[in-house]
Symmetry: C2
Subunit: 86 residues, 2 copies
């Protein structure tokens, strides 16, 4: 399952659609964001995806965690959100 | 139960301690943030609070949602995070 990488410029509604699609197909989605702007777009997307998934009778929850990622040889701390039905 | 209001200047470790304390005492906590900097601190606090609550055998999940708040007579959209055991 691929990780959905969100940037500060990502449209949260578009990311929400992607999250809902991955949850429907794979049972869960992973979203990754680095920096306040990206984290804000990511969590707004999760809030919107919840409303999309409610239509399917899914009560989606979010599990935030820190994760280390390698960006061009540089170690960065990202926030990872796992989205899955409760 | 009071809402934990987080700002961009809040220390995420301190907020995490407050979240964990409220979840232990009341079974759930509500965290509110307005703006990218505040949302980033809030969600980092939830990620840290999860590690505190794991020590108590609690698998805490987060439910993000939009909420309208009144700030000095002005209507603003906040993000609200409900934190509770799965």
């Amino acid at each position: 399952m691929q990780v959905l990488k969100v940037s500060a410029g990502s449209r949260s509604a578009a990311v929400a659609g992607a999250i809902a699609g991955v949850v429907r197909e794979h049972g869960r989605a992973e979203v990754q964001a680095i920096g306040a702007g990206a984290v804000n777009q990511a969590i707004k997307a999760v809030a919107i995806a919840r409303t999309y998934l409610e239509v399917d009778g899914l009560d989606a929850i979010c599990i935030p965690a820190f994760t280390d990622v390698d960006i061009g040889g540089e170690q960065r701390t990202a926030l990872k959100f796992t989205v899955e039905p409760r």
